[in-house]
Symmetry: C2
Subunit: 334 residues, 2 copies
DNA sequence: TTGTACGCGTTATCAG
DNA sequence: CTGATAACGCGTACAA
């Protein structure tokens, strides 16, 4: 199957390549007649303009890069990601953009991947998901004037394009909710400390408490297993009314660990998570959680990036989406 | 931030562009001296070769396309996908390929997307995930001589590049397993009938039974909700020992429906699924399921496609991966 | 060992 | 309204 080019179409239609190009981008006013000729030739020959060549001359790829700033195994295992990936993919497609995915097995390679995409000219801009703290990729992006949007991450830097939820506030409200329910010994199983999300949710947790007992805070990986293990340890050392977990994965591990340690959940101990993974509703007891509107976040991020790329005098903004406590069986109150 | 090109590097290093090109692809034997000069210039100027231009001349994109043949919402919601996506992403990256994602809100657009990617020259080949039956995209790919690999799908066509598990066999074995456990009234909640996976697993189910009772088979969407509803209906109409579900999502819905209808699972009724989603282990009772090695399938698929693209006399093969029954609490036997 | 010249397939500019 | 022509940035025969 030979690839046919604009020249062959031109020849077949007895016009010049430029005319064909014009017809296809229906830009200029071309006579009805030649239009028809060209379109006929296009269809007849099964011509499809080559995106690469087009990109080379227009200096645009019509492609968005998506960077997962956790190693792939972890990123995809976390139910948080599918939702956001889905919405970004949908919006991109709607707006005529392709989506280039980057991830890697090596923790620190992803930022390199992001820059590569941009430098090599494979994408017009990138969306960066939930990064760790203290990386300077953002500065590099700014310095190079590369279009980008951050998702799920708070920074000291202001005035950068970002879609986020207020994790401090969300966590604060979660704890207040639990206090109102009558719980007193409120433990918190956080995620890895180098992640902003962990830090912020811990901040909100602390802020909502009258007195802060460090022994009630534990750190887990982003996994069921981590939640399970930290809960085992925690329950062996402390008396606890309720465990608030950094996300629903961890919460589900905590739930099972508590159950396996002989606790009746929620009678003996309550559990609460973050994110509202689909899974949260299916657990027994179903899990009270703080819903993060991931689909919406993905949509906003994709739309913002596309606007940054296409609209000359728009350079992004800060969008904070609001969270919502979804009350289920795991926190009936005391 | 101006983009610097090979010419500027050449000028800076006082050589010709071709020399720079050669150094960067360290192809030819270039003198040590000029090598150094060039590399220094490259570093000094921060040069990165433009992938688009390179693609245009080499006629290679070093990019793989991944087509999700379900609408995005559904595809990403299914825990089956993250695993396979993850492994495909990892392998691609390892082998120096980028990954272009296609999905859409419209059911029937995805095949169009696949062909677009190829025709427009954005990718060197595509991986097609679990398609429905009766679509002719495969024929089109073959006719056009486009490199592709199918994943999770069986066809009448032979001799096409595919990575799959034997769904008929897996389902057959699952039912045999249940029979051995002492269950007799074995219901099957299948997926949408137009999917090959639904058809095949139903075939295996039938094959393993002495007598086939159509009233025990139900069809659900690929969702928790579907499993829930079909189970409600089923239990209202039939007496059932165990429900085998097309996947773990559906099974988890079935589980909850049974519980909410007053059944004690697994004492009153047993449940079994397919896929071994991470979630399956966290349910209560934990779910017996047929593990599909999704990560391995993704790896194989990516590797095969890359081989097809890069090795001239390799045109793919059929790889069948084996499944495994993971026995958990939901099927203790009678 | 290195430089020159051409071409990849398209769009944009400039005539006409 | 349409056709040459030049460029986009790079790789590669061919020549030197």
């Amino acid at each position: 199957m030979k690839k046919i080019t604009i020249k062959e179409v031109a020849k077949y239609a007895e016009v010049s390549p430029s005319t064909v190009s014009r017809v296809l981008s229906n830009d200029y006013r071309i006579s009805e007649e030649t239009q028809k000729k060209v379109r006929k030739a296009v269809k007849k020959l099964g011509y499809h303009p080559n995106a690469i060549a087009r990109s080379l001359v227009t200096q645009k790829t019509k492609t968005l890069g998506l960077i997962l700033s956790r190693p792939a195994e972890e990123a995809f295992a976390n139910p948080f990601f599918p939702g956001i990936l889905q919405s970004i993919a949908s919006i991109s497609q709607e707006k005529g953009f392709s989506l280039l995915l980057a991830s890697s097995r090596d923790y620190h390679k992803e930022h390199e991947e992001a820059l590569k995409m941009l430098r090599y000219g494979k994408v017009d801009g990138v969306i960066l998901m939930a990064s760790r703290v203290n990386d300077d990729i953002v500065k590099q992006l700014i310095n190079n004037n590369y279009p980008f949007v951050l998702v799920g991450r708070s920074l000291e830097l202001n005035e950068i394009p970002i879609v986020n939820n207020d994790n401090i506030k969300a966590s604060y409200q979660a704890v207040k909710f639990l206090i109102n329910k009558g719980y007193e010994k409120i433990a918190f199983i956080s995620g890895p400390q180098e992640y902003v999300v962990s830090q912020d949710r811990e901040k909100g947790y602390k802020k909502a408490l009258k007195e802060y007992n460090p022994a009630l805070v534990r750190y887990s990986g982003f996994s069921y297993k981590g939640g399970y293990r930290q809960t085992q340890i925690l329950l062996g050392e402390q008396e606890v009314d309720v465990i608030l977990s950094l996300d629903d994965m961890i919460a589900s591990g905590a739930l099972r660990a508590a159950q396996n340690s002989g606790y009746d959940v929620p009678r003996d101990i309550a559990i609460m998570g973050f994110n509202d993974d689909p899974m949260a509703a299916y657990l027994k007891p179903s899990l009270t959680t703080v819903r993060i509107p991931v689909v919406k976040m993905g949509e906003k991020a994709a739309e913002m990036l596309i606007r940054i790329i296409t609209e000359k005098d728009y350079s992004g903004e800060e969008i904070i989406v609001s969270t919502e406590i979804i009350e289920r069986e795991s926190t009936p109150g005391i």
